[in-house]
C-alpha cells in the first residue's frame, strides 16, 4: 500500500514538474520573441532556429532544482500530509538541534516534537549516566517527571546489551520478543516496560552509542512501514550526533567547574597556610612579652594582700593587666581567622560575626576617619556555618570597603532576614571610589586587583565561601559613587528546623 502510494506520488510529481517547466518555457519564449521583435526588428531572435532550444535548456538548468524542491515540499504537505509532513518537521528539527549544545534542552526538543508530531503515547530520550552505569532518562514526553527521575536502565540489562550488539536498527518490541526464548524474552519485556517502549531507536554516532529513543503508540495496533524505519534510522543518526556534541560539551563544562574548584581550593589552601604560619609566629612572639608584662603587674597587684598599696597604683596595675588581655585578644582573633582547617558548622549569630569582623578593622578605620554605621535587624535567625569562613567572607568585604575609601568616608553594614526566600541578606556599602563599569564583572575573579600591593584574592575567596553555603553575592557600583556588595545566605535545613516556632512543636506534643 505504502509502496504504491509512494510510486504514484513520485509519478505525479514528475508530471507536474515537467508540465510547469514546459509552460514556463513557452511563456518565456513568447515574451522574449515579442520583446526582440519590438526592439530589434532587423535581426529578430525568433527567426534563429536554435533560439527556442537554448532558452529551454537554460531554463531547465536554472529552474529544475528549485522547482523540484518546491513541488516536493508542496506534495509532502498537501497530498500526503500526515506522515511525510511529520518526517519533514522532524528532519528540520535535526537541523536545528545541531546548534543546541545543552543536553537537557536538546532532549526536551527531541521528545516533545517527536511525541507530538507522530502522535505518540510516550517518548523518552535515554542517555548514558556516568561511567558504565547505564542509561538515565534525559527527558520524556507523556511521562510524569517523578516517574523517570530515578529510572535507570542498567548497562548490563538485556535490552541495553541487545542494542549494543544489534547496531543502529530500530528495535520493535513484538518482533524482538518473538525472536527470543521465553526466558530471555521475559527479561526483555521487563526492560521494554521499564522505559515504556514499543519501539527503541538506538542512537549511534558512528560507533558510539550516545543514547536511546524509546517510544510507544496511542493504539496498540499501530504499525510503521519500511519508509518509516528508514526515516527513524536517519533521524536517530542525526540526533545521535547532536547528543554526542552536547554530552561532550557537558563533560567539558563539568571538567571546567572541577578545575575551577580545585584551583580555588589550592589558592585557599596556600593562602591559609601562609597566613596561619605568619599569625602563629606573630601570636607567639607577642603573647610571651604580654605574659611577662601582665604577670609582673599581677604579682605587684597581689602584694596588696601583704601591705596596703596606693589606690592609684592599684588602678594603674589593673589597667596594665586589662590592656594586655585586650592586645592578646586581638592576636587571638587574627589567629582564628587564619585557622580555616577542620571546617565544622555551628549555630552562628550573624550580627555577632559582623561585630567580630568590625572589631578587627576598628583601629584602622578610626585612624583613617572612616565611620561605620550598622543597620542590623534584631530578628535575625541563627545561621549554621563555619565561623572562620564567614568571618573571612565579611572581613574581605569590609577591608575592600576600607581600601576603596582610603581616608574620610562611611561604611554601612546592614543585615536583615528575608522570610519569603528564607535567607539572610547582608549589605556592605561604602562611600569609596567605586568600580569602573568594565571591571564590575571581574572583581570576583582570582588575582584581579586595581591596587599594586594587593594579591586580588579577597573578593574571590568571599565569593567561594558564599557559594559554598549556596548563597549569592553581587555588586552595584559607579565610579566615584561608592560600591554596594550584597550577600544573600540561604538558611540551611538545619537552621530552618531550629527556627520552627516552639508553639508549633508544643501542639504536636499535645496531640
Amino acid at each position: 500500500m505504502a509502496f504504491l502510494l509512494k510510486k504514484r506520488k513520485k509519478f505525479l510529481r514528475k508530471v507536474l514538474l515537467g508540465a510547469t517547466l514546459l509552460a514556463l518555457g513557452l511563456v518565456l519564449l513568447s515574451v522574449l520573441s515579442i520583446l526582440s521583435d519590438h526592439f530589434f526588428p532587423s535581426h529578430s531572435l525568433s527567426k534563429e532556429p536554435f533560439y527556442p532550444v537554448l532558452t529551454m535548456v537554460l531554463l531547465f538548468v536554472l529552474a529544475f532544482k528549485p522547482l523540484e524542491k518546491f513541488y516536493s515540499t508542496l506534495f509532502e504537505r498537501y497530498f500526503f500530509r500526515k506522515k511525510n509532513y511529520a518526517h519533514i518537521v522532524l528532519m528540520n528539527l535535526t537541523d536545528e538541534l545541531e546548534m543546541v549544545l545543552d543536553l537537557d534542552e536538546l532532549a526536551n526538543m527531541v521528545v516533545n516534537t517527536f511525541g507530538e508530531v507522530l502522535q505518540l503515547k510516550t517518548a523518552a530520550l535515554l542517555v548514558p549516566a556516568g561511567e558504565q552505569e547505564g542509561f538515565e532518562v534525559a527527558s520524556a514526553f507523556g511521562w510524569h517527571v517523578s516517574d523517570y527521575r530515578r529510572l535507570r536502565l542498567d548497562w548490563s540489562a538485556p535490552l541495553a546489551a541487545l542494542v549494543r550488539t544489534s547496531g543502529p536498527h530500530v528495535l520493535v518490541r513484538n518482533q524482538v520478543i518473538q525472536a527470543f526464548s521465553w526466558q530471555e524474552a521475559s527479561r526483555l519485556v521487563y526492560d521494554f516496560d521499564l522505559i515504556r517502549a514499543g519501539w527503541v531507536i538506538p542512537l549511534f554516532a558512528k560507533e558510539e552509542l550516545t543514547g536511546l529513543l524509546a517510544f510507544s503508540a496511542q493504539r496498540p495496533d499501530r504499525v510503521f512501514d519500511e519508509s518509516d524505519f528508514h526515516f527513524f534510522r536517519e533521524f536517530g543518526r542525526r540526533i545521535a550526533k547532536s547528543i554526542r556534541n552536547a554530552s561532550r560539551m557537558e563533560r567539558l563544562k563539568k571538567l571546567n567547574v572541577e578545575l575551577q574548584d580545585s584551583q580555588s581550593q589550592m589558592v585557599q589552601n596556600t593562602k591559609l597556610t601562609a597566613i596561619e604560619q605568619l599569625a602563629t609566629g606573630i601570636a607567639h612572639e607577642i603573647h610571651n612579652p604580654l605574659t611577662i608584662i601582665s604577670g609582673k603587674a599581677q604579682v605587684l597587684l597581689l602584694q596588696r594582700d601583704k601591705f596596703p598599696i596606693d589606690p592609684r597604683i592599684e588602678d594603674v596595675l589593673k589597667t596594665i593587666v586589662k590592656q594586655t588581655k585586650r592586645a592578646a585578644d586581638i592576636t587571638r582573633k587574627l589567629l582564628m581567622f587564619s585557622q580555616g582547617s577542620g571546617l565544622s558548622s555551628e549555630k552562628l549569630d550573624i550580627p555577632q560575626v559582623l561585630e567580630d569582623t568590625l572589631a578587627l578593622v576598628s583601629y584602622q578605620t578610626s585612624l583613617d576617619g572612616i565611620k561605620i554605621t550598622r543597620h542590623v535587624s534584631p530578628e535575625l535567625p541563627s545561621f549554621y556555618g563555619n565561623i572562620h569562613e564567614l568571618r573571612e567572607a565579611f572581613l574581605n568585604l569590609v577591608l575592600n570597603a576600607v581600601q576603596a575609601i582610603g581616608t574620610e568616608g562611611e561604611i554601612q553594614i546592614a543585615a536583615h532576614y528575608d522570610a519569603q526566600d528564607r535567607l539572610i541578606e547582608v549589605r556592605i556599602a561604602d562611600t569609596g571610589k567605586g568600580i569602573a563599569e568594565e571591571n564590575l564583572d571581574k572583581v570576583f575573579n582570582p588575582f584581579f586587583t586595581t591596587r599594586h600591593n594587593a594579591l586580588g584574592l579577597g573578593l574571590f575567596v568571599t565569593k567561594q565561601i558564599v557559594h559554598h553555603y549556596g548563597g549569592a553575592i553581587r555588586v552595584e557600583s559607579k565610579p566615584g559613587a561608592g560600591s554596594l556588595f550584597i550577600v544573600r545566605l540561604p538558611l540551611s535545613k538545619q537552621a530552618q528546623e531550629a527556627e520552627m516556632p516552639a508553639s508549633l512543636a508544643g501542639t504536636n506534643d499535645a496531640i
Binding site: T280, T291, I292, G295, Q298, R332
Partner: protein, 130 residues
C-alpha cells in the same frame, strides 16, 4: 611541702611565676628548656609541673612524654602562647592534666594548681617522693 616545677624558655616568665607561687607556700624550681627540666626531674620530684608547649630545642610535648614515663603521678599543666588545637589535643592525649593560655591569669592559674595538689593529696600521693 608542695613542689612546683616551672618550665618556660622565657626566664622572665619563670621569674614571676616563682615569685608568685613561693608567696603561696610552694617550693618552686624553674627550668628554661625541656632538657633542663628533665635533668632536674629526679632530684626535684615536683607535684605539679607548668610546661610551656613552644620551646626551642626540646618542645613541651616531647618533654611531656618523658615526664609521664618517669613521674606518672605528677600533674602537668600545659602553658601555651596560642590555642593551636592540634597541639593541645595531642598534649591531652599524652596525659596532660589541663592547659592554660598566655597571657596568664594568675588567679585562675593558682586555683588550678591548688586543685591539682588537692587531687594528689586525696589520692594519697602527696608524699615526699610523689
Amino acid at each position: 611541702m608542695k613542689r612546683l616545677l616551672v618550665v618556660d624558655d622565657e626566664t622572665e616568665i619563670c621569674d614571676f611565676l616563682k615569685m608568685f607561687f613561693e608567696d603561696r607556700g610552694f617550693t618552686v624550681t624553674t627550668a628554661n628548656s625541656g632538657q633542663k627540666a628533665l635533668d632536674q626531674l629526679d632530684q626535684v620530684k615536683p607535684h605539679v609541673i607548668l610546661l610551656d608547649i613552644h620551646m626551642p630545642a626540646m618542645d613541651g610535648l616531647t618533654a611531656l612524654r618523658e615526664i609521664k614515663k618517669r613521674l606518672p603521678d605528677a600533674k602537668v599543666i600545659m602553658v601555651t602562647a596560642i590555642e593551636t588545637r592540634d597541639k593541645i589535643e595531642e598534649a591531652m592525649r599524652l596525659g596532660a592534666d589541663n592547659y592554660i593560655t598566655k597571657p596568664l591569669s594568675l588567679d585562675y592559674l593558682e586555683k588550678d594548681v591548688q586543685e591539682k595538689v588537692t587531687q594528689l593529696a586525696k589520692s594519697g600521693k602527696m608524699t615526699e617522693s610523689v
